[in-house]
């Protein structure tokens, strides 16, 4: 418990550094004022708008103002929507979580059996097939896979809807798109963790007692091999969130990723900052969760 609070405290400096990076990046990418004004705008219009947005202040003044407000959950107003940025982002959160969780389920259901199979049948043709498939799955870019799935399963075979959000059917293709890369990664990790355990003494003992292989694998090895799996799952948070950006754009999935991409394109700074912050928080919490479950599941790690 004490350790948990200690880790939680470490989150604060990390968020602070992220805020600084986001602020600087947003500021070097260009001036939003030019994008907001029409082709007939005068210099005077420009100056007025810069002043209204507080962009005429020195950078450090702007940053501290931004930080002061951000701490209170106020990231400023999205200029495209004339509304506070954070609520808009939070409104989109459920759709993203829905996609992320489903993709995780897809990845888990795929990778646990495949990883184990691959480890048990080590160096057979099946193993080569699975590890080869994992390399392929990792290498396929999400947007390409998404567009291919749409072409084959929606346009040609008309099984699933092309895009949007609503029914369970809408969820299938995006979840497969996002889940494949993660499944590939997890399969490889599970395989190596299983191999490590299969080489340990107690498994040799079990085998020498003449137990059936299937019992050895399922009863003795699997249990211990699954310990890291939980951690591996939690560690996928960042891959998952990164993947939602592309996947949501391809499938017009109304989540945070799509919002962030549009906000970057239109230089909607307040929205970008709010979205990046929420995403960073998720990644940090995911990693913290991984850390904690690992300690909980493997008592050999000391709490200090």
């Amino acid at each position: 418990m004490k350790y948990f609070f200690k880790s939680l405290l470490q989150v604060i400096p990390v968020l602070f550094i992220i805020s600084l990076i986001v602020f600087i990046l947003v500021n070097v990418t260009g001036n939003p004022v030019d994008l907001m004004l029409p082709e007939t705008a005068t210099e005077e219009d420009r100056a007025n708008l810069i002043q209204a947005l507080g962009l005429d202040q020195p950078l450090h003044v702007q940053y501290f103002r931004f930080l002061k407000n951000a701490v209170q959950g106020d990231f400023g107003e999205s200029f495209r929507y004339n509304q506070p940025a954070l609520p808009i982002v939070l409104e989109r959160l459920p759709a993203t979580i829905e996609l992320a969780v489903t993709s995780m389920i897809v990845a888990t259901l795929l990778s646990i059996p495949l990883g184990i199979l691959s480890a048990v049948k080590r160096n057979t043709f099946l193993d080569v097939l699975i590890t080869g498939g994992a390399v392929l799955g990792k290498a396929m870019p999400n947007f390409w896979l998404g567009i291919m799935l749409i072409l084959i399963l929606s346009v040609t075979l008309k099984i699933f809807p092309v895009s949007g959000h609503g029914t369970f059917l809408h969820l299938v293709l995006p979840a497969i798109t996002l889940g494949t890369g993660i499944a590939a990664e997890m399969t490889r990790l599970i395989r190596s963790s299983m191999l490590e355990i299969l080489g340990q003494d107690y498994i040799r003992t079990a085998r020498s007692k003449g137990l059936m292989e299937i019992i050895v694998v399922n009863k003795h090895a699997l249990r211990n091999a699954l310990i890291p799996v939980v951690t591996i799952m939690a560690l996928q948070t960042s891959t998952l969130i990164g993947g939602t950006l592309i996947t949501e754009t391809v499938f017009s999935w109304p989540g945070m990723g799509q919002l962030l991409i549009q906000a970057v394109n239109t230089r909607d700074m307040a929205l970008v900052q709010a979205a990046v912050f929420v995403i960073a928080l998720f990644v940090i919490l995911g990693n913290l969760l991984a850390d904690l479950t690992y300690r909980y599941l493997d008592p050999r790690i000391k709490y200090n």
Binding site: D34, L35, L259
Partner: protein, 510 residues
Amino acid sequence: MKRFGMMVVTMVLAAALTLTGCNSGGSGAVGNEKVLTIARGADMVSFDVHNHNNTSTEAIHVNMFNYLIKLDENQEPQPDLAESWEQKNDTTWEFKLKENVKFHNGDPFTAEDVKFSLERVAKDQSLLEHTSYKQIKEVKVIDDHTVEIITHNPDPVLLNRLSRLGSSMLPSKYIEEEGWDQFLKQPVGTGPYQFEEWIRDDRVVLKKYDDYFGEKPKWNQVVFRAIPEEATRVGELMTGGVDIVENTPPSDIERINGNEGTHVQEAPTQRVMMLVVRMSEGNVTADPKVREAIELAIDNQAITDNILQGAGTPTRTRVTPGTFGANPKLYDKYEYDPKKAKQLLKEAGFEKGLKLTLSATNGRYLKDKEIAEMIAAMLSEVGIQVKLDMLEWSKYNEKYQGKKFDELYMIGYGNSMFDGGYAFERLSPEVAKGETDYNNAEVEKLLEQAMENMDEKEREQQYQKVQELVAADRPHIYLHQVKGIYGVNDRINFNPRLDELIIADDIELK
């Protein structure tokens, strides 16, 4: 240990099921024939009708709001919320308003609303559409259904102004009582469709308004979806998920036409692609012979045929048919003569060739990158070495606003005013300074006269003359008028409009 793992899995599953369980309704036109769905690349920007200059946003507004006047397909003014109008003197117009018109919230539409709507945009300088309405001095309420609109100077374009984006009629009582923020959340108009919901960057949903003063709305619901990914948009059309897709890539035309139940429709738009030329001293393009050589080196037909697959018409003017003052002698024409171009460069003293920079956007206009590359290749054929400066939109825009381009940049301009004067605003000396540095006293005089000329015939001739002078001076080298490419479901009749608006009730089931 095992129990813990199981617990995690169960929890995740439970969470997923609850999440997928709470859903908004399904979508798409499949199975519901009274829903019209339109897919486009980007979301609308705002419900503030005065504070955007975005045609695809207006395409939604036009179903929810009315103007005083609407232009028919021949660009002739027809009554919309105004019953009739007459000009009292050079600067005063009287409008009789339709009676028994109700806003979606039940408020009656009166002269007060006209005053409120037009004076807001005419007086508030911070609004994006202000420049197109600052000519209006005041709106006088004569009685509940009569107003006088008074302009600062004689304004021959007033009727056009009152039938385009920025002149939608707003509910003054509702806005004064509830405030702007409430209006932006829950917009109210007089149009055939009323606001249902707006999910940012996803969709805007409108539903029919039964008390509409005009013909009964044809659809129960009209849905405008934002689908940024082109392949996904086309996929939605081919599976019947949407009825109309905008901005279809030319490479998909054959696929859509070959697919069962969908076809492609092309229609001219007001957008003209052009090269803007810096004529200032110290640039190679200051020499008229060099500018002529550039035009002669470009084979416009090759661009529209090969890159756009026919979705463009070569032009030597920005004022295209359907816009007041169009000059037919310059439309669907181009000059291509590489031999003469070389000759001209030789005369200008560039026998060994010359270097210049062409800046262009990437992904903003139809096939812009490919067009710029092709132009660079064509220019090099006659000995002009082009440094191609491809910029993403915000960088480009920064240079554009700061007037920091070199010899040439490529841009596409529309004309939401349907008037020749609008097409030459950027060539007036104060705007052109530092951009083209164009300065032709004759052009300037003609434009000034035309701006306040109430004699329609004469005014038309003035604009036609301006176009001829500009075509000869070449501060802009026009390339082609862009056609809109729409993918359409066979179940509907849809004729794309010149102004690119999507008017749901003009679209019907077959």
